[in-house]
Symmetry: C2
Subunit: 257 residues, 2 copies
DNA sequence: TAAATGTTGTTATCATAATAACAACAAGTG
DNA sequence: CACTTGTTGTTATTATGATAACAACATTTA
């Protein structure tokens, strides 16, 4: 039994997707099986889905609670799936309901709470992981109102960064120090090309060192650094000291060589 | 310690909501606590949330993976929550992504699968539960193209049903037998008032018997019946026998007394 | 300064509940 | 009878929730 055209092969992957809509693995598998054989009996479903026959019954019960399948009153019972787009739409709907309700309450808690003013701006926050840093960085850049200073040696992110910068509103003055630039240059963006700061053989220590400094509106700075093997770390802060330091750093670089 | 205005009291309820967005109970509780004290330390969070101090660390780790909190690199560490609307929006976003991907694949499976034609129309399907029946019924009525025949003695649903019927497109001819009608009467709707079929003392057996018959486009019939204490059951089918039976039933009623 | 105390962050361990998987059986069906 | 269906109970297995113990520091106090 090595062939069977296994739709069950990809079923596992889809099951994962359906889990975030609140289904269990079995519920997902059973539903998927039913789509391939509307009106199947419990046993047929069991065979198609790989779910133990005994488990199929309670699972179908739950699915019919959730309005994803209907049950015939024949003997043996037969089951019918709700059309997938309807099904997913209705699951999503209920998640969205929860989301808006949660949003409402949480927002109240957030604004209502006499949040202890802890001089957030004096703290330095850190983020780990390529993806997280990327997301946060783009988010922060998006919020820029006046000016952005950048030092940038990080090939991986280059394309996305450029795109984001080009999409900023005109009023924002952008100054960039980097090792190469191929995109169009609106007049509010000023690029200075500099060779990467290869402090002698970079292979000493780690390979593929990359990094960047971003200073936004003179009141928020983000520093990214990392290497292929150690992963990336970013710091960001509104602390005046932090900003002053990296502004100096930027100026130093800007006037170098 | 009986007062303290317990925001933790409702926290449990909100935690439930957040679970459908993919958070665990602890993740929810910790995040909620953080909203009340941005920039708190692990210990403070522990005190506010009731989550064991040792558990707070891994939970915060997961939350920061999910981009819901950021971490300072001070000692002790301090934590900052993402603004609740952003947070929820981004969680919801990822669920929606999964949903659309799932929808795509499932629809393909559904349409592609040489669904064994099992003469669905010969089967009779059943639904249980007030809410489920309501939802399905309205959905089916919505799909009507030509005609709807109705026998209706079910106070609970009356308002919604009327609304739905009035919202149908003009082409659909509607014939209703019921015990009372107060809404406006467009000329494609025809109502016959009849006293409920009280087959002598209805208290014999169950109290509050209610029910209805709906025949849509002469090719789909839904029958609802139930009582306050036993709950409701609905049958629906495209079986010709089923439809013929209830059409006769309708005619019988229509010409009665 | 040395000892005592408290805090933080980390790890290991245990408990519990949800889900998954299996085995057994009674009732129904042909 | 042989077979299938539907149901029940029991046992893994996993994810999550909860507790305990500890090393590293920092703070206090004598």
């Amino acid at each position: 039994m090595y062939s069977m055209a296994e739709p069950g092969a990809q079923a596992g992957a889809i099951a994962e997707l359906l889990k975030s809509l609140g289904l269990t693995k079995y519920e997902a598998l059973v539903y998927i099986a039913l789509l391939q054989a509307s009106g199947a009996t419990a046993t047929e479903i069991h065979e198609l889905s790989g779910v133990p026959r005994a488990s199929v019954y309670p699972v179908l019960e739950r699915l019919s609670q959730k309005q994803l399948v209907s049950v015939s009153n024949t003997s043996p019972k037969r089951f019918n799936p709700k059309r997938p787009d309807e099904a997913i739409e209705s699951l999503l709907q209920s998640v969205e309901n929860d989301a808006t309700r949660a949003k409402k309450v949480l927002n109240r808690i957030y604004s209502l709470s006499s949040r202890i003013e802890r001089e957030d701006q004096e703290l330095i926050w850190s983020i780990h992981g390529d993806e997280h840093i990327r997301a946060r960085l783009l988010e922060l850049l998006q919020g820029a109102e006046e000016s952005i200073l950048i030092i940038f040696y990080w090939d991986h992110l280059k394309a996305e960064l450029i795109e984001k910068l080009l999409s900023l509103k005109k009023g924002v003055r952008v100054e960039i120090i980097t090792d190469g630039w191929t995109a169009p240059l609106p007049d509010h963006i000023n690029v200075v090309i500099k060779a990467p700061p290869k402090e002698t053989p970079r292979e000493t220590g780690q390979k593929w060192l990359a990094g960047g400094v971003f200073i936004i509106d003179k009141k928020m700075a983000i520093v990214v650094m990392g290497s292929k093997d150690e992963g990336f770390t970013a710091l960001y802060s509104e602390s005046v000291g932090f900003i002053r330091f990296f502004t100096m750093y930027w100026n130093f670089f800007s006037n170098w060589e």
